[in-house]
């Protein structure tokens, strides 16, 4: 069965993206045109280009994505990475669409009022990421932490508290009083005190313990929602003030109501021209057929890797096959002896499905890129690229995961440990698609994920170490260690594992193991980290595992 036997519809409804409530056609848009380029070229210039590679979030837009509960979840993504064609049939919002002609959206209101926008270039992106979190169904509470109250600390409070009156320095001052005491503006008294702004707000403050700043606001707002948005002006505090001041969602808000209806269904699509085509196949079979016919086709999932290829490297593909909405790739199945995760699920979706049931992965997710990227990046794509610094591979190695590879020739399951063969190389053949990731259950009881990067969040790993173990009767009964960033591929730290297996669960054992771990792999020096530092971190991770688990 090949793709060409399944001509797909290209009617207006299929080729339109609903942008801010109005349909806009992508029928004539080239497959390599990003959503950001397309929107801006169409006069929707709220989304900005700050980097064109998923790092700054200035381009963020809100997309209606399946909520997992049959409804819709507003999800912010980097529009600079996704081809416009991939959004055909979907609904998106930009900052322009959130406000009505008279009223600002609550998110915009708070951002404007609290000074969350300075130069304003990052602002439309922040507004979209913030709005997506505002609409998160399980975000609850209002700004004061008490339901239904609707108060938040005011910026006037914050800034008046920031004003220090030095003793003996308080001077009445007004410009309107000239040097020779002749008022420029007749009738204006010298100012002795500063009046607050016209707006009056109840004065409630959220409490924070110094050094332990909350990452979740009293209104349930998770700051990670803004982790992929950079601002060079504000120092983020006014933005955070705005985020934490948001109240409950008004049930009459149409975007809130939209959450209760299903996200737009996937529809097959065929766009472009020979040599530059975009196809959204109807099902996995069609996708596999197309791939078998066109080995140099590019598979498109969340486009967080492919988007960078498009914009930075200016790569162009003869055929782009969108697999992100294929049903067969979006299944999540739990049984007694395994969890099967569809390769087309995004990191955010996997995190929600697993809901903490695999602690090792639960530790990983917040450290993976930014929320914006996680909202689009798929687990299959993370393995598909074969990058030695991808974060999921070390963890999945430690979990002894397997991959289901599908091709028009059939399916096969292989252990992830046997998957990578070299730098960005794997046993996957050109006609195969990763269908799912299978994690044997139950997972080993002890699990830890260590990621060392130059920046804590929103950065690629210098080194990532995932460790899963079982200790029985004071001995290391089972242990698996996955390591990223220490060789041309993600590796298992076999020597360290072999050393530890059967050894007593003691600090001494792990001290000795750390020295073996230090020389696992062949770490390189680059501007992220020196080889010495990478080796040192490997060693430390083993020690740290014992220390943390033991306590």
């Amino acid at each position: 069965m090949t793709g060409s036997m399944h001509p797909t519809a290209t009617d207006a409804a299929t080729t339109a993206v609903t942008v801010n409530g109005s349909e806009m056609s992508v029928a004539e848009v080239a497959p390599h045109t990003t959503t950001l380029q397309w929107l801006r070229g169409s006069g929707i210039t709220g989304p900005k280009e700050g980097c064109a590679e998923g790092e700054c979030g200035a381009c963020a837009v809100m997309v209606a994505r399946p909520g997992g509960d049959g409804g819709t979840r507003w999800t912010s993504i980097n529009s600079c990475l996704v081809p416009a064609a991939a959004l055909a049939g979907q609904e998106i919002y930009t900052a322009e669409g959130l406000a009505s002609s008279e009223a600002l959206h609550p998110v915009q209101q708070e951002m404007a009022m609290r000074g969350g926008s300075q130069c304003g270039f990052c602002t439309p992106g922040f507004v979209c990421s913030m709005a997506a979190e505002y609409y998160r169904k399980d975000r609850s509470g209002c700004a004061c932490g008490e339901a239904g109250c609707g108060t938040a600390p005011t910026t006037s409070d914050i800034v008046s508290a920031a004003r220090v009156v030095p003793s003996g320095n308080e001077l009445p001052w007004s410009l309107a009083v000239d040097d020779d005491a002749r008022p420029l503006a007749p009738g204006l008294p010298p100012r002795t005190a500063v009046d607050p702004p016209a707006r009056t707000e109840p004065a409630t403050r959220y409490e924070s313990t110094p050094g332990h700043e909350p990452e979740t606001g009293p209104n349930g707002f998770d700051l990670h929602a803004l982790s992929g948005n950079l601002c060079r002006c504000t120092g983020y505090r006014p933005i955070r003030d705005a985020a934490f001041a948001l109240g409950d969602v008004d049930p009459r808000d149409p975007l809130a109501q939209r959450r209760d209806r299903p996200a737009p269904a996937s529809r097959p699509l065929r766009l472009g021209s020979p040599g530059s085509a975009f196809v959204r196949p109807a099902d996995l079979d069609e996708a596999l057929g197309l791939l078998a016919e066109t080995p140099d086709a590019v598979l498109l999932a969340g486009s967080t890797d492919w988007g960078v290829e498009l914009t930075i490297k200016h790569r162009r593909a003869p055929l782009t096959i969108a697999i992100d909405q294929l049903d067969e790739l979006r299944r999540f199945h739990v049984s007694d002896d395994h969890v099967e995760i569809g390769a087309g699920l995004t990191i955010t979706e996997v995190e929600r499905h697993l809901d903490g049931s695999v602690p090792l992965l639960a530790e990983l997710f917040p450290l993976f890129a930014s929320q914006l990227i996680r909202n689009a990046a798929t687990i299959g794509g993370n393995l598909g690229t074969g990058s030695p610094i991808g974060d999921t591979a070390p963890a999945l190695l430690a979990l002894d995961a397997g991959l289901v590879l599908a091709s028009s020739r059939g399916e096969r399951t292989i252990a992830l440990a046997d998957y990578f063969t070299g730098y960005r190389k794997s046993v996957r053949t050109a006609d195969e698609i990763i269908k799912s990731v299978v994690i044997p259950m139950p997972v080993l009881p002890l699990g830890r994920f260590y990621k060392v990067a130059k920046r804590k969040f929103d950065d690629i790993s210098s080194v990532a170490v995932a460790i899963a173990a079982r200790v029985t009767d004071g001995e290391v009964a089972e242990i698996r260690v996955g390591v990223g960033g220490a060789a041309a591929t993600t590796i298992r730290a076999r020597e360290t594992e072999a050393f530890l297996r059967g050894k007593p669960w003691t600090a001494e054992t792990f001290e000795a193991a750390a020295e073996i771990m230090r020389v696992e792999g062949t770490p390189m020096s680059d501007h992220r980290a020196s080889a010495r530092y990478r080796s040192a971190t490997l060693a430390q991770s083993i020690r740290r595992f014992h220390e943390e688990v033991a306590s």
Partner: protein
């Protein structure tokens, strides 16, 4: 009758431009509607020094959608070529990797980029130098350093004083090669309308762009109109026009009158939009056992581009910061085959306060006294450099207030003595300073448009600092009306002349012109002006600057956590206390301070453009690799300020706040990291590997 007007200076007014910005409707340079534009994609040199031998554009010319390909062989000749950064495409010479060597003009950005990839260039390479090292034998003393400061200064005999001192700190500190990275990439939209050039430009100064470009193109300044109502940040890198403005305007000479659009990519910005030079700072301090300084020497080595000198005034703050009888400073510069450095937030003070403020921490420890007390002890009575009294020097109040708020009194000075949950914790302090200057050459125009409403025009630019709001407030106060009655018009050379938004001079210099215009308006038209009445006012120098040294001061406090196993470093708390004269709008001021401190945090922890000297290549030329702080890096951060007025800073009483927030921040963090770990890192950024013992 007395009236209290709303929204005047000093009041906590929300940003006037905020609503348009949160709606995504505020237009930036690229977004102005122009008819039938062409798009530019540049050609850039792929060698660091040499000359172009052949450049083959045949394929590119023939590519679909291409309108023109321009190289040094056929580009318009420029009238003024004194500024080698701007004199592009005039010769086959290449001065640094990434330099413009041509441009493709096409119907779409995609076509321009695709065609640019088809141009074949052959070069003759010459040996290049791209590494700044203290042991270079070609370091030279520039005639003067930036802002007209002397290259070297000397008072007394500091070498002997230090040799005789009871306690000596003699260390070398380095600050990184940094890129401004405003969020909006530099953008120019250029169109020739007859013999007039119209530019929508992302710039910090519309008139400065005009004045710089006029001689380059050999036309009168009045023939250039520059428009910039909204600018997505600058931090110095848009303070002077860079080569892309010239390239775009040249290309527009080849476009049959069609407008040409060009926005630099983030990657291109690392080569073409200026940066802060790396510095190597040798600091020597001599003191008696109590900590009283007798000698200060600050010798700085930094880089410029071989094609154009830019000599950062790094050692300038050491000239006025602390009292010591014997003082010397110097600047030595290496001319390298690298991109041209330029202004970056708090040029001079920002890098120049790092070395000395860490050295002060080292001195405090060596003397066994508290670092705050050390600074208080060395507080000068008058400006050590000029001998003038300070108009207002509240450094001690800032330090004391900060100490109180930060909980400094409980600090145990012993380093590496607080390990909590695997993290070493420590606190540090540093001083901050920035000069208050008023730029002359600002004029404002006020017109009584209709009953009770005034338009106020000046060619100022709001790059995010809040000028839209602050200037409105100043105008309202000066005219004695509500902010809502002012229709401020800025960001266009059609308005009266204004200086650059830079050096913390914008609000005060433009504000002075607005006040002068208001005074002229009232003088001429009284309290009951007719509709249509108007007046202009020009601000001269601040006469008090003759008698007083005008500087802002601040105290930066940081709490740092360093992971014992991995060396990962986090700044868990920051507090800045600033004395910057009158605060025109506390709401916008707060985020200016916080934004500056956050950029200082980036300087301390992340920011570092990595030069590979073998290729003259900036390796990490994008946001994936050049890290600026994210939301998650900014933990508990607070900025407060003394509620004061500097009566010598003109009628406004303000000294400007754009830069002071960044100064000293990195030193406070480095000092805190030492207190946490006992490991003294003297080179920025403070990366994890430095803390693995």
């Amino acid at each position: 009758m007395t009236v209290q007007h709303t929204g005047t200076a000093g009041q906590d007014l929300e940003r006037i431009d905020g609503v348009a910005k949160v709606r995504g409707l505020a237009p930036y340079a690229y977004e102005h509607q122009v008819d039938n534009p062409l798009y530019l994609h540049p050609l850039q040199a792929t060698i660091s020094r040499g000359r172009i031998e052949t450049i083959d554009t045949t394929q590119a010319q023939a590519a679909p959608g291409v309108v023109a390909v321009m190289t040094h062989l056929d580009a318009p000749r420029l009238a003024g070529t004194d500024d080698a950064e701007l004199a592009i495409l005039q010769s086959p010479a290449v001065g640094f990797r990434g330099q413009f060597i041509g441009a493709v003009l096409a119907e779409t950005p995609e076509a321009a980029r695709a065609a640019a990839a088809l141009v074949r260039v052959e070069y003759t390479e010459e040996p290049h130098e791209a590494e700044l090292r203290a042991d270079r034998d070609d370091l030279y003393a520039p005639e003067q350093v930036n802002a007209g400061f002397p290259t070297d200064t000397r008072d007394g005999d500091p070498e002997s004083a230090i040799a005789a001192a009871q306690v000596v700190v003699d260390q070398t500190y380095t600050t990184p090669f940094e890129h401004n990275n405003p969020m909006e990439p530099h953008t120019t939209v250029a169109q020739w309308v007859g013999d007039e050039l119209v530019l929508h430009d992302s710039t910090q100064g519309v008139h400065p762009v005009r004045q710089t470009l006029a001689p380059v193109f050999g036309i009168a300044p009045e023939k250039i109109r520059v428009i910039a109502p909204n600018v997505g940040g600058g931090f110095g890198s848009k303070g002077v026009p860079h080569a892309h403005v010239v390239l775009t305007a040249m290309a527009a000479q080849r476009s049959n009158g069609r407008p040409v659009k060009y926005a630099l990519t983030r990657q291109q910005m690392f080569f073409l939009a200026g940066y802060r030079t790396p510095t190597i700072q040798h600091v020597r301090l001599g003191a008696d056992a109590s900590g009283q300084l007798s000698g200060i020497i600050h010798d700085v080595i930094e880089q410029t581009s071989r094609i154009k000198e830019f000599a950062e005034q790094t050692a300038v703050p050491a000239r006025m910061m602390y009292a010591a009888e014997n003082r010397a400073t110097s600047h030595r510069v290496a001319k390298l085959d690298v991109p041209v450095p330029s202004w970056m937030r708090a040029p001079g003070e920002c890098p120049g306060m790092f070395g000395p403020e860490v050295a002060m921490d080292e001195l405090a420890e060596a003397c066994g006294i508290d670092p705050i007390e050390l600074r208080v002890l060395n507080e000068p009575d008058i400006d050590p450099e000029s001998g003038k009294p300070f108009a207002s020097r509240h450094l001690v109040e800032c330090l004391r207030e900060g100490a109180r708020r930060f909980g400094w009194a409980d600090r145990d000075p012993q380093p590496r003595s607080r390990l909590v949950d695997g993290w070493y914790t420590g606190t540090g302090v540093a001083s901050s300073t920035y000069p208050a200057r008023r730029q002359t050459g600002n004029t404002a125009r006020i017109r009584h448009d209709r009953a009770g409403r005034y338009s106020v025009q000046i060619g100022a630019v709001d790059i995010g600092t809040g000028a839209w709001t602050a200037l409105t407030q100043i105008a309202a106060e000066a005219l004695g009306c509500n902010a809502a009655d002012i229709d401020l018009q800025i960001g266009d050379t059609d308005f009266p002349v204004a200086t650059v938004a830079g050096g913390s001079t914008g609000t005060t210099s433009w504000g002075a012109a607005i006040i002068a215009a208001a005074q002229a308006f009232r003088d001429r038209h009284g309290d009951q002006p007719a509709v249509g009445a108007h007046a202009e006012g020009e601000a001269g120098e601040n006469p008090a600057a003759q008698e007083y040294a005008l500087h802002s001061f601040g105290a930066q406090f940081a709490e740092v956590q360093v992971h014992a196993d991995t060396g990962e470093i986090r700044v868990s708390r920051m507090l800045g206390v600033f004395s910057a004269g009158r605060i025109i709008n506390p709401r916008t001021a707060r985020s200016q301070f916080l934004g500056g401190m956050t950029m200082g945090l980036g300087m301390a922890l992340h920011e570092n453009s990595v030069m590979d000297p073998r290729f003259g290549m900036i390796v990490n030329h994008d946001f994936a690799e050049y890290h600026i702080p994210t939301n998650a890096d900014v933990r508990d951060m607070e900025a407060v300020w003394l509620d004061e007025v500097d009566e010598h800073a003109g009628k406004l009483g303000a000294r400007g706040i754009g830069e002071i927030g960044i100064v000293g921040a990195a030193a406070a963090i480095a000092n805190a990291a030492y207190h946490a770990t006992g490991i003294r890192v003297r080179d920025l950024p403070l990366t994890a590997d430095r803390f693995l013992a």
